[in-house]
C-alpha cells in the first residue's frame, strides 16, 4: 500500500476519535495560568463578614505577589539565558549570522587540496570572501544541507557575486575522504567549492586556528563504519582575512542572499 507523502494507521478498536477531538481544543488547564483570571473583582468578596473580605483581599494580594514574582523570575531566567548565550551573539544584530565579538584571522595552515597539491588556507584564498566549514563526506544531514543551501544562494545571487566567494570545505575524516572522493562530493553542490584534507595533526591545527571545537572520530563498528562529531558552522572571512561572523547549521538561502552582498561590500558585522 502506497500513497504520496502521508499515511494514517487506525487500529480497529481505537478510541482515537475522542483523543483527536481533545487535541483540537486546548486543555482546560491551558488558561489556568492567565493572570487576568486571578484578578479579583471587588464584588467577589465573600458575603457575610469583614474577615472573609479580608481573607479575599489577602488572597488577591498574594496572587498579585505571585504574579509579580513570576514576572521577576521570568526576567531573571531571561537574564541568565542571555548570559548563557555566547558572548559573540548580538541580540540587536540585523545580520542573519552570529556576529563574533572578536575578529578571528584566517588560519595560517597548509593542507592538501583535491588535486593532491598543498593549499595554504590563508594565502590561496584571495577572493573577497572565504567561507570555511569542517565536515566529512559520509555526513548525510548537516553537511549536504549546509553546502547545498549555500550553492543555491550563490546561484540566486548570480555569477558576479558567486565568483567573489570561496567556499572551503575541510574534511576531518582523512581516512575515508581521499582527495578524489572529496572532489566528487563537492562537485554535486558546486565545482568551485574547494575541498581540503590533511594529516590529523594539520587538521587539528586548522580547527584550533579557526577557533572551532576539535572534531572526533568514533571507533568503527563491525561494518567498519563510524560516526564523526564536527563543528557545523560556516566561518566567513572578509577581504582583510578576518572573520567577524559565523553562520550556524540551519542558515537559510534567504539569509545568505541578504548577508553575502553586505559582507562583499565591506560592511563589518558588529
Amino acid at each position: 500500500m502506497s500513497s504520496p507523502g502521508a499515511g494514517t494507521f487506525r487500529a480497529p478498536a481505537s478510541t482515537a476519535g475522542e483523543v483527536t477531538e481533545g487535541l483540537d481544543h486546548p486543555p482546560a488547564g491551558a488558561t489556568a495560568g492567565d493572570p487576568a483570571r486571578s484578578d479579583p473583582a471587588p464584588g467577589d468578596a465573600a458575603p457575610g463578614g469583614g474577615a472573609a473580605a479580608d481573607r479575599a483581599d489577602q488572597d488577591a494580594r498574594k496572587r498579585v505577589v505571585a504574579v509579580v514574582g513570576l514576572i521577576v523570575a521570568a526576567a531573571i531566567v531571561g537574564g541568565v539565558l542571555a548570559l548563557l548565550r555566547p558572548a559573540t551573539t548580538s541580540a540587536s544584530s540585523d545580520w542573519a549570522g552570529t556576529v563574533l565579538g572578536v575578529e578571528q584571522p584566517k588560519p595560517e595552515v597548509v593542507l592538501t587540496d583535491t588535486s593532491g597539491n598543498p593549499f595554504d588556507l590563508a594565502r590561496d584564498t584571495p577572493r573577497p570572501l572565504t567561507l570555511l566549514m569542517f565536515g566529512y563526506t559520509n555526513c548525510p544531514d548537516v553537511c549536504p544541507i549546509s553546502l547545498s543551501t549555500l550553492a543555491s544562494a550563490l546561484e540566486a545571487l548570480g555569477p558576479e557575486v558567486a565568483k567573489k566567494v570561496q567556499m572551503v570545505f575541510v574534511s576531518v575524516d582523512p581516512e575515508r575522504d581521499t582527495p578524489e572522493r572529496l572532489r566528487e562530493y563537492l562537485d554535486q553542490f558546486d565545482p568551485r567549492f574547494v575541498g581540503l584534507t590533511g594529516t590529523p595533526e594539520e587538521l587539528a591545527r586548522a580547527q584550533e586556528l579557526a577557533n572551532v571545537p576539535q572534531a572526533f572520530l568514533d571507533d568503527p563498528d563491525e561494518d567498519g563504519s563510524y560516526e564523526v562529531g564536527h563543528a557545523s558552522q560556516m566561518i566567513a572571512y572578509q577581504e582583510d582575512g578576518l572573520a567577524r561572523i559565523v553562520y550556524p547549521f540551519g542558515t537559510r538561502e534567504g539569509d545568505w542572499v541578504s548577508d553575502l552582498p553586505r559582507l562583499l561590500a565591506g560592511e563589518l558585522p558588529s
Binding site: M1, S2, F9, R10, L23, H230, E253
Partner: protein, 152 residues
C-alpha cells in the same frame, strides 16, 4: 494533503496495555544524495491512547535505513544510531535535519530531485506503512532545521 488511511490490527504481539496507538505519518521527504548516502525525514503523530515505537525503516532505494539522532554538544554535531524511536500516545515526533533522521545507506543508485522513493515504516504495535517520498535538493531542507537546536 492526501492522507492514506490504513486499518491494521495489533497482531499477535498485542497492543500496549494502556490503549491503541493511531499513527499518522506525513511530510515524508528524501534528500537527493550526496555521495553514497542520503537522508529522509517525516513527521509521525500518535493520535491514539496507546504508545508505539518506530523500530525499522526500509527504502526501495537503499540496502539499509538507520534511525539516527544528531546530537549537538559543545559546538560539535554528531550522529548517534538508535534502535527505536518512541512515539508516545498523543505526541508528534518529527524527523528533522539536525535532529532525529533516517539515514539511507548503500544506495542502489543516485537519488535525483523530482523522483520518488518508497519508504516502509515499521512500528512495534501498529505494523507497517509504505509511503512514497518525493526527493528534494538538500537546500530545500534547510527550512526544516529546527531553529536554535544547537543552543549557540
Amino acid at each position: 494533503m492526501c492522507l492514506a488511511v490504513l486499518v491494521v490490527g495489533c497482531g499477535l504481539a498485542g497492543c500496549s496495555s494502556s490503549g491503541t496507538p493511531e499513527l499518522t505519518v506525513e511530510d515524508v521527504v528524501a534528500s537527493a544524495n550526496a555521495g553514497d548516502l542520503s537522508a529522509a525525514y517525516a513527521a509521525i503523530t500518535n493520535h491514539g491512547d496507546g504508545d508505539d515505537a518506530l523500530v525499522a525503516v526500509r527504502c526501495s532505494c537503499s540496502e539499509r535505513v538507520s534511525i539516527h539522532h544528531t546530537e549537538h554538544h559543545d559546538g560539535l554535531s554528531k550522529m548517534v544510531p538508535t534502535d527505536r524511536l518512541e512515539v508516545p500516545a498523543g505526541e508528534r515526533v518529527a524527523l528533522t535535519p539536525g535532529g532525529t533522521h533516517l539515514m539511507l545507506e548503500g544506495l542502489h543508485g543516485p537519488l535525483a530531485a523530482g523522483d520518488e522513493v518508497e519508504l516502509t515504516f515499521e512500528f512495534e504495535h501498529t505494523g507497517e506503512l509504505t509511503l512514497s517520498a518525493p526527493i528534494v535538493e538538500p537546500a530545500e531542507l534547510a527550512d526544516r532545521v529546527e531553529p536554535n537546536h544547537e543552543g549557540a
